[in-house]
Symmetry: C2
Subunit: 79 residues, 2 copies
């Protein structure tokens, strides 16, 4: 079973990587880019076959390791 | 208009970040994690209101800046 986790900085947390990308896009001539946020995506290949259990496990992984919940939010997708 | 880009290392390209996450999950007692790949997600806020044009522009951004197409693949979602 595959799982995908998105980890993004929370709104209000400064995102220097996103700002750098926005600036670089402007320099390359791309107009109308109003905001850029950069985050991580983590794709997991799990032995678990039950979707609910997989979601529970992956949520626990996020809380313990994958996201810093002080400044980051996460979203879990099970496919 | 919002766009989301996923940038992942291509299959066959070594992913040390993903390997580090897999190892750390094992150390934390999570079993049955068969593989981990880590990539980037970039969320763009665009002034463009036409979805097709937005997709075209974002694809060009990927080719020119957001992805290193030698070792990375990308996927564009327009929302």
């Amino acid at each position: 079973m595959k799982a995908r986790v998105h980890v993004m900085l929370k709104n209000g947390v400064l995102d220097p990587q996103g700002e750098a990308v926005r600036h670089a896009l402007g320099q390359l001539g791309f107009e109308g880019v109003e905001g850029v946020r950069q985050g991580k995506v983590i794709e997991l290949d799990l032995a678990e076959t039950d979707a609910d259990k997989a979601r529970e496990t992956v949520t626990e992984m996020c809380e313990k390791l994958l996201a810093n919940t002080v400044i980051e939010s996460y979203a879990v997708e099970i496919a």
